[in-house]
């Protein structure tokens, strides 16, 4: 049996491991345009700052391919011939035949829609090549641990629209490193791009279209705390700014961001306005895509073509609210990879999205959420508590018809699995508040949350 997987991200690798666990002799090929090794995309920011090396963000040891008998194909896949069962490769390489195929090609950054978005010195923060570009602009190179091991000759054969291509570095051309970076887009990747610039000793600008940072997850009170933190660290947070164009100097290097509020100097711009499924290479292969570009799959992750499956960021899957769209999360990509692995083995298995939860770290503030928060449910009420003692935290419990349906917590650590259980058990607000510390996951010796006046 020949298994071919396009993508060695978490979805692709989890599937490959699931297959190998049961079938020691099947031929498994992993095609990756981006990197030799499976790495954690979530960890790019720490490589940038120097907190971790490339080796550190790889969950498997570097002999994993050899030990597990995976065939590594470093190339760009350019299409699938579903009739002949072949994956074609860029650069005139031999197409790869498959019996069962998994597409796990992830996301690509959404490009800036503004004039000047392709100036030198403008980039993203999603791929390894983006990381290398941003490091070059700000630090003038990698940390002492060096870059990832890579045989990148094939990247030259990649089409210009590949997200894994190398970018021109304006710092090199200008002869000095970036001093005034700007980040556009108030989401999680945006704040990470801001944070690493702070760690490099710079004062980045942060352009956000909305009224406050990250409105899909935070309310105005919560977000104000994060904004204060950012300002405290020297970030210029520009809320309610619509970017209109990016200006470049005579040499083609980016020089300013123009918004509806005015002109702001910038010598390096990170566009972080979201990601889209990385599926343009599938055009013409007859595999059905939805309006967003996500690969249409059924409950068991099968695509419109026989023996072809899709998992991870590139697949349009069913969310916890029943809608179908791509979901760009580490744990959903991992879970889908595991299900896809079973499917490649020939098992029938459905992908089931459990309750919503997530966590993040916004500057120095830890964030945990579970259940339905910021959904504007009928008749919902929010109970909010701000702790301002030795520990600073906020607790928001969303209640609908006297039942707790969601939690949004900043500053402390919580076990989301306990919070989800309470939601499923339909607990009342009073009950939850009385038991809240049972869900605490604070480090030892941290005084427990005491709710005054409750």
């Amino acid at each position: 049996m020949r298994i071919v997987i396009v993508g060695n991200g978490v979805a692709g690798m989890e599937a490959a491991l699931a297959v190998r666990r049961r079938e020691p002799s099947w031929e498994i090929s992993l095609i990756s345009e981006e990197s030799d090794h499976f790495f954690s995309r979530t960890a790019l920011m720490w490589v940038f700052s120097g907190q971790m090396s490339h080796r550190d963000i790889e969950p498997l040891e570097r002999d994993a391919y050899a030990r597990l008998g995976f065939r590594r194909v470093r190339a760009r896949a350019t299409g699938i011939d579903t009739a002949k069962r072949l994956v074609s490769l860029a650069g005139g390489l031999e197409p790869v035949p498959y019996d069962r195929l998994l597409i796990a090609s992830g996301s690509r950054p959404r490009s800036g829609p503004w004039p000047g978005s392709d100036s030198r010195g403008v980039g993203h923060f999603v791929t390894l090549q983006d990381l290398a570009w941003y490091e070059d602009e700000v630090h003038g190179g990698t940390s002492r641990a060096g870059g990832p091991p890579r045989a990148d000759a094939h990247l030259r054969a990649s089409e210009s629209h590949s997200p894994y291509g190398f970018r021109d570095v304006s710092a090199k051309r200008r002869g000095r490193l970036a001093r005034r970076p700007a980040v556009i887009g108030g989401g999680l990747i945006g704040i990470e791009a801001v944070e690493v610039a702070v760690a490099a000793g710079l004062r980045p600008r942060f352009f956000i279209r909305e009224e406050w940072f990250w409105p899909i997850a935070l309310d105005s009170r919560e977000s104000r705390w994060i904004a204060d933190q950012m300002s405290h660290h020297g970030v210029d947070v520009h809320l309610e700014h619509e970017v209109e164009r990016l200006a470049a100097d005579a040499d083609g290097n980016v020089s300013a961001v123009h918004t509806n509020e005015g002109r702001y100097e910038a010598d390096c711009v990170v566009i972080a306005i979201g990601v889209v499924p990385n599926t343009s290479w599938l055009e013409g292969s007859g595999i059905e895509l939805d309006a967003r570009g996500g690969i249409v799959v059924d409950e068991s992750l099968k695509t419109s073509a026989a023996d072809v499956f899709a998992a991870g960021d590139c697949a349009s899957v069913r969310w916890f609210d029943g809608t179908r769209r791509p979901e760009q999360l580490w744990y959903t990509a991992r879970d889908q990879g595991r299900v896809a692995g079973q499917r490649l083995l020939g098992d029938s298995l459905h992908y089931q999205r459990g309750a919503w939860y997530n966590s993040a770290k916004l500057m120095d503030i830890e964030y945990t959420t579970a259940g339905l928060v910021n959904w504007n449910l009928d008749g919902e009420k929010a109970w909010f508590f701000e702790e301002e003692g030795r520990v600073r935290s906020t607790t928001r419990v969303v209640v609908q018809q006297n039942r707790v349906v969601g939690f949004n917590m900043l500053g402390r650590r919580w076990d989301h699995s306990v919070l989800i259980r309470w939601i499923e058990e339909q607990r009342t607000l009073d009950w939850v508040l009385a038991h809240l510390n049972d869900a605490a996951f604070d480090t030892e010796l941290v005084p427990p949350l005491r709710i005054s006046g409750a």
């Binding site: 491991l17 720490w46 969950p59 030990r67 966590s359």
Partner: protein, 376 residues
């Protein structure tokens, strides 16, 4: 403010002296030379006619070079503690742990042993136990000590230390009390990311640490036997204990190989090359014993299910080379024998996935002994 989690991003790999650069290795060379001169000062004296540490100790009024060493050790720990607390002191666990550890070193590792002889007593280190302080269970040592100290040593080594390890894990000793661990967590902290996480290094550790433990027990046993029958068997006595301190004997070999080379020269001298816990992880017989006890005790690291993003901060900053991530991403709470409970994995985790705790819950956590994620 009490916070949890690392504040601000670290720049570890962008700082030359903290990596295996020429500068880092130069620091290592200095440390190694320091230990070589300290331990074999008599050789230096034979060669060059000066005993630098002894001369200096006497000049500043310390009775011998070991007090000078104790003083330097304390100074290095205080300096390292300041470095550590500036980076990671925002969390209470880190703050309390390091403060207690440094205070114990200053009080029990330096001041008390210095003062006791002034009052006609013997110098005694309350913070060390057998088998780390390997001569504290030698019959001769016990006979020479005042009764209360002999009792302290015997009860401390054979009863109190193991019982505390059942209740709190080995961390009560390795991360709160022990001087070796204390130096590693303060002066050695800048190099904690250099400890190898490879499966090979784990295999090495499993063999080496138990080998040293075996040798420690055998040496103690032979020296006990020698105390009983040595006078009737001069050859046995000569082999086990030697007639003169300069003789090569099992006793002096253990002191040389384990006490000086492994604990000192390699254990501390190679911080900037292999991370700060080379001794604790690979050789310390006390750590081996407490590790076994930890496996059956209450201590564990609890993993929050489904929240790990496999970033690797926990594994990178684990000074014992434990691949914490492999457990976290498998939603597997765990107790590893080598874990010293320094708390840095939980501190570094940006998603709050890990929590150190003492609990009898879910003892099946403790049985898992997988070598790596890809071992099926």
């Amino acid at each position: 403010m009490d916070q949890q989690g690392q504040n601000g991003l670290l720049t570890t790999y962008r700082e030359g002296w903290r990596n295996r650069s020429a500068f880092g290795l130069f620091i290592s060379l200095l440390l190694v030379s320091f230990y070589v001169v300290l331990y074999w000062e008599h050789k230096v004296q034979e060669q060059f006619g000066v005993a630098p540490f002894t001369a200096f100790s006497e000049a500043v009024g310390l009775r011998n070079r070991w007090y000078l060493y104790g003083l330097l050790y304390s100074v290095a720990m205080v300096a390292g503690a300041i470095y550590y607390l500036r980076r990671h002191g925002n969390s209470r666990y880190n703050r309390y742990r390091i403060t207690v550890n440094v205070a114990i070193q200053i009080a029990l590792g330096f001041t008390l042993p210095f003062i006791m002889p002034l009052f006609g007593g013997k110098e005694f280190y309350f913070s060390y136990f057998w088998p780390l302080k390997y001569d504290y269970l030698y019959p001769q040592t016990l006979a020479d000590l005042p009764l209360y100290l002999s009792l302290y040593t015997v009860v401390g080594s054979l009863l109190a230390a193991p019982v505390l390890a059942v209740i709190y894990g080995k961390r009560w000793y390795c991360s709160w009390v022990c001087g070796c661990g204390g130096l590693a967590n303060t002066f050695g902290d800048p190099w904690r990311h250099l400890t190898s996480k490879s499966t090979k290094s784990w295999r090495f550790e499993q063999v080496s640490i138990h080998l040293v433990l075996l040798i420690a027990i055998a040496t103690t046993f032979l020296i006990g036997l020698d105390w009983l029958i040595g006078s009737e068997h001069p050859t046995f006595h000569r082999i086990v204990a030697g007639n003169d301190w300069r003789d090569w004997s099992i006793k002096s070999f253990y002191g040389f190989a384990v006490g000086s080379i492994l604990a000192g020269v390699i254990g501390t001298g190679l911080y900037p090359a292999f991370g700060p816990r080379v001794w604790c992880r690979n050789f310390c017989p006390m750590a081996a014993v407490l590790g076994w006890i930890q496996k059956v005790g209450r201590y564990r690291i609890k993993v929050k299910p489904g929240m790990c993003i496999s970033c690797g901060n926990c594994s990178t900053y684990c000074e014992m080379g434990i691949d914490v991530r492999s457990y976290a991403q498998a939603d597997q709470s765990f107790t590893r024998a080598s874990c010293v409970g320094c708390g840095m994995c939980a501190h570094m985790c940006p998603r709050g996935v890990l929590k150190l705790e003492n609990s009898w819950d879910r003892p099946e956590d403790k049985e898992r002994q997988r070598l790596s994620v890809v071992d099926f």
